[in-house]
């Protein structure tokens, strides 16, 4: 039978009716909709038992609690009850799982193949990788060039940095370098003025009048969460009880925005303002007489043993820093200076804090001293709500290093950066200075460089000079967990586990006034083929043998850690931290280990160290005008790099979540915005979003203009933390690295970088 058209229709009708009366269409519709709601490429997170594990963040020293589902870490939260942060969390730590599990990790030991920085690597075994380092180091040592080995680390506190330092000592090199931070200057100021070998501690929680000289307290100065928590304390209670925050800064930063008063002053004149305030306080006799008269040295004029007259801080300040004089320097009216000084001196528990931005840069020693002198004037040293030195929880000391001839000679050689030499006897590290020195010599000054928890290739000022200096180092080893710029330009990467995968001690976070020792512990199993840097150093030392090996009597890093903590280990392991909550800084009578036994306005140590002192001025806090690099005629504007809370600008790149939180006035596609006052913009015919060429004596970059009333006319601000070339597309290629636009302005007395800006010009593109 032939099925004609009509027949087919009849059949179809039947089929249709049948299908309709069968479950097929209805069930298929349902299944189809379920299918479209559950695409196979949409991840379905696995469920499992939920556990919580405590550890400590290596970013900010906050206690954190990881929420784990099965063996996966799914969330980082602030640990409740932890002394530093009590439940709060910093933005970068909150995004840390993106770094732990992300593609930025170095998957295993890598050896460079092809040109340096080309990104071509071969996977090698740990055996071979360590073998390469041992080979190189033992060759250098045999040739008597042990002092040409240098280490750059992000910190010198805690067991791992101490292992590196010990290694250099046993191996025979003086070149342990710590990357720049406000600690560089603070340690110097505290050791000179107070005779304390430690950085500064601020009792911010109990302070009632906080006078901040450009300190990015809210941006992440010290331990981010802790300072923000302190800010909330200032904002609690009745309006009358609330603390006052005064911010001195040319730009309306987050800190300035949160301040009760914001005083924009000419950039780089903070020291002058501090001295101007001192002038008013002294003139009006508002200073703490007991402290100043009985516990300080060099306030009044004095005569030394040889009968020479010296001028005191009082006379200097009264003579040179009248409100009118300071007003001319800072741009702040004399009336305001007087008002500010009076308010500060009369306030209950005033405190003056120093350290530009997040505290990732060093600065002028005299400026730091001038600010600290204010604290002395109001007598808040070692007081509640005042300033003291950063204490540490006491741990066991290691056996002395038994140096052989090479080690002794090597360690006795001058440091590569010039720190501790005759010119800068008190400075410990000059992290911004070594590239110039390396570039300035024909001979190869650094034969091997080991970098741990630092990214000097990215964070050191004057990127072009840094790149040249790296090119001159034949052997660069990075211990980096992440593929940062230094790792990218290294010859060998020996990846350290992420801090969520390893044991380590976390010393007291910068700025804290109570000794705390935190325990970093592995909370997830190692995700990649990594090895603890502490263990790697032990292995290298043992393989080198001789005195180097003997200096490391420990089996492995965990033994080092346990033995260093000693009796307190069980407490530390159980609680996750040790807090010496009842610690109080020593009373004034025993507080100062200076030559005079007092707080020194006049630094006696300079002369004792054999430094050439021509004028009393050199030993007193004073203001030295520091002109930013560049010719004002060519570069009429002043560029200041600024730090943003949501943009990490240190050794660890900004995670994708944090990149997302940047404002639309900070980054647009890959272009960075600079902040320009509308008045400045009008002068150069710039409008919002204008494509502009920013040029400084050190480099140039294409940027976009954001008009912001919160920036001083004539000054332009550029955020730090962008312009990465390593990592991946979530971070690399966005914006500019401010260091590529900056040079190094050296502080004459300390040799540290006192760079706060550079001259610049803007041209429309």
């Amino acid at each position: 039978m032939k099925l004609d058209r009509r027949g087919f229709i009849q059949f179809s009708l039947g089929a249709g009716a049948g299908i309709t009366l069968s479950p097929l269409p209805w069930k298929l519709t349902d299944d189809f909709s379920i299918w479209t709601q559950n695409w196979p490429w949409t991840p379905v997170p696995r469920t499992g038992e939920v556990t919580h594990v405590n550890t400590v963040s290596k970013h900010c020293g906050s206690g954190i609690t990881l929420r784990k589902v099965g063996d996966r870490a799914t969330k980082i939260e602030g640990r409740k009850g932890y002394p530093v942060n009590d439940g709060g969390i910093s933005i970068q730590t909150a995004a840390d799982l993106q770094l732990l599990y992300g593609p930025w990790r170095v998957p295993g030991p890598l050896r460079r193949v092809g040109k340096r920085g080309s990104g071509h690597w071969e996977n090698i075994s740990w055996e071979k990788a360590i073998g390469d380092v041992v080979q190189k180091l033992s060759d250098l040592r045999r040739k008597g060039k042990s002092h040409t080995v240098a280490c750059i680390l992000g910190s010198d506190r805690g067991t791992v940095p101490q292992l590196f330092s010990r290694f250099l000592k046993a191996y025979g090199s003086p070149n342990f370098i710590r990357t720049a931070s406000c600690d560089d200057t603070y340690e110097l100021a505290m050791s000179l003025m107070q005779g304390a070998a430690a950085s500064v501690a601020y009792d911010l929680e109990h302070a009632k009048y906080i006078l901040s000289f450009g300190c990015g307290l809210i941006e992440g100065w010290g331990s981010t969460v802790r300072v923000i928590k302190a800010h909330s304390i200032w904002r609690s209670g009745n309006l009358k009880e609330r603390a006052t925050l005064v911010q001195i800064e040319p730009r309306l930063s987050n800190t300035a925005a949160k301040a009760d008063q914001w005083y924009p002053i000419n950039p780089g004149t903070e020291g002058a303002l501090a001295l101007g305030l001192a002038h008013v306080i002294i003139k009006k006799s508002l200073y703490h007489t007991d402290f100043v008269e009985n516990h300080t040295f060099g306030f009044e004029d004095w005569t030394d043993d040889s009968g020479r007259r010296h001028i005191g801080f009082k006379r200097l300040v009264l003579k040179k820093y009248s409100p009118n004089a300071v007003s001319r320097i800072t741009g702040l009216s004399a009336k305001k200076i007087v008002r500010l000084a009076t308010a500060f001196a009369k306030a209950d528990r005033p405190i003056a804090v120093w350290g530009r931005g997040k505290g990732t840069t060093s600065g002028s020693l005299y400026e730091c001293m001038a600010v600290h002198a204010l604290n002395a004037l109001v007598g808040n040293i070692n007081k509640i709500g005042g300033v003291s030195t950063l204490p540490e929880v006491a741990t066991e000391t290691w056996p002395k290093v038994d140096q052989d001839h090479i080690a002794r000679t090597g360690s006795g050689m001058p440091r590569i950066d010039g720190a501790g030499g005759s010119r800068y006897p008190f400075t410990r590290y000059l992290p911004e200075r070594w590239p110039q020195i390396v570039n300035g010599h024909k001979a190869c000054l650094i034969e091997a460089l080991l970098v741990h928890e630092a990214d000097p290739y990215y964070t050191t000022l004057d990127s072009a000079a840094v790149a040249r200096a790296f090119d001159r180092i034949p052997f660069v080893v990075s211990f980096s967990t992440l593929m940062d710029e230094t790792a990218y330009h290294a010859d060998l990467i020996l990846p350290n586990p992420h801090y969520l995968e390893r044991w380590e001690d976390a010393p007291t976070p910068t700025g804290l006034q109570v000794p705390i020792l935190g325990l970093v512990r592995p909370v997830v199993s190692p995700q990649f083929d990594t090895r603890h840097a502490g263990d790697v150093i032990l292995t290298i030392a043992k393989r080198l043998g001789g005195v180097v090996g003997d200096a490391f009597p420990w089996e492995d890093y965990e033994t080092v850690l346990k033995e260093t903590i000693g009796d307190k280990w069980d407490t530390l392991e159980e609680a996750g931290y040790i807090e010496e909550a009842d610690y109080t800084p020593p009373v004034w009578e025993n507080a100062f280990a200076t030559a005079s036994g007092k707080f020194e306005f006049y630094i006696t140590a300079f002369e004792q160290a054999g430094m050439k002192i021509n004028k009393d001025l050199q030993c007193l806090p004073h203001y030295e005008p520091a002109q930013p690099e560049g010719n004002p005629a060519t570069y009429p504007l002043i560029l200041i790099p600024v730090e943003l809370t949501r943009l990490a600008n240190g050794a660890v790149g900004n995670p994708p979540f944090c990149m997302k939180t940047l404002e639309e006035t900070e980054l647009k596609k890959n272009d960075l915005f600079i902040e320009v006052n509308p008045k400045t913009a009008a002068k150069y015919r710039l409008s919002e979003g204008q494509d502009t060429m920013l040029e400084t004596p050190r480099g140039k970059a294409r940027v976009l203009v954001h008009l912001f009333e919160g920036i001083m006319p004539g000054v332009i601000a550029i955020p730090k933390g962008l312009g990465h070339t390593a990592y991946d597309d979530y971070l690399a290629g966005k914006g500019v690295n401010t260091n590529s636009l900056m040079g190094v302005t050296e502080d004459p007395i300390s040799g540290l970088s006192a760079t706060w800006g550079i001259r610049a010009k803007l041209t429309r593109v």
Partner: protein, 271 residues
């Protein structure tokens, strides 16, 4: 197509809400990241176009519009307001326009839901929401290799073409319920249910709890703030009756709160 649930006589009801202290908020952004990490929020290589960027909690920056040096800046964290609306009809703007019943107002909790598998992406709700609290998935969320390991099983990852928004971390309420039920209780204690942003905020600027419960901190803060005339809500005049209160001692901030959004996606300036 109004979908409202939970009018059940005799049942204990909650009215979860938030008080955000703008004097304490520092604009650090920890709430935003904590929210993203908690709620499996996707991210892309370029997130600079804020019109299509996925935020449940977003911190806006507003300025007082005055020139240097009288400029001032304030940060305003903005979660979903979980609008209750007024009167019998409870006019929650987004709920009232959803043609798919993909969002509802739960009278037992006061939380506005969003069901991703039900949503078909018409975005009426986004148009209706005066707070820009809702975001659309223009792309299929994807995670760089390895990163999907941190995804939480408590929040369902979304797909392209659906709208999402802040849920007051509703899964944490579910978690708290699990715990109370297994202990034979029904009442959820204040500390048992807190949102991720509240917990993360280093400043302690966010307070979360039951607005109806006089024992809860939020209740006290709202009462106190009203008395001192420092508490307000965003776009109060629209009558959306939001459950997120703000506290600021700055006059200009209080004034700006009624018109704070400005032109879409553009930085906001107020005189």
């Amino acid at each position: 197509m109004k979908e409202e649930h939970g009018h059940r006589p005799g049942k204990k009801t909650y009215k979860y809400g938030m008080v955000i202290d703008l004097d304490k908020c520092t604009g650090c952004g920890a709430c935003m990241v904590a929210c993203m990490a908690e709620n499996n929020i996707s991210f892309r290589k370029d997130e600079t176009n804020k019109l299509v960027s996925n935020f449940w909690m977003r911190v806006y920056k507003i300025t007082n519009g005055r020139s240097f040096p009288d400029t001032d800046v304030c940060y305003i964290p903005r979660p979903c307001m979980h609008c209750e609306g007024h009167g019998h009809h409870h006019h929650t703007p987004c709920v009232s326009v959803c043609p798919a019943c993909a969002t509802d107002y739960d009278h037992e909790t006061g939380i506005v839901s969003q069901i991703y598998t039900r949503c078909f992406g018409c975005r009426y709700c986004m148009a209706a929401c005066p707070y820009h609290a809702r975001v659309f998935n223009w792309w299929d969320p994807s995670w760089p290799k390895g990163m999907e390991k941190y995804l939480s099983p408590d929040v369902s990852p979304r797909m392209r073409g659906v709208v999402e928004k802040c849920t007051f971390c509703h899964h944490r309420l579910q978690r708290a319920r699990n715990k109370t039920y297994s202990e034979g209780r029904r009442e959820i204690r204040e500390d048992e249910y807190q949102t991720a942003c509240t917990q993360a905020c280093p400043a302690g600027a966010i307070t979360f709890g039951d607005l109806k419960n006089p024992e809860h901190k939020v209740h006290k803060l709202v009462e106190e703030g009203k008395k001192k005339k420092i508490a307000f809500r965003l776009l109060e005049k629209l009558g959306t009756n939001p459950k997120v209160y703000y506290v600021s001692t700055k006059d200009w901030v209080q004034k700006a709160a009624d018109v704070y959004l400005g032109e879409e996606g553009k930085p906001v300036t107020h005189a």
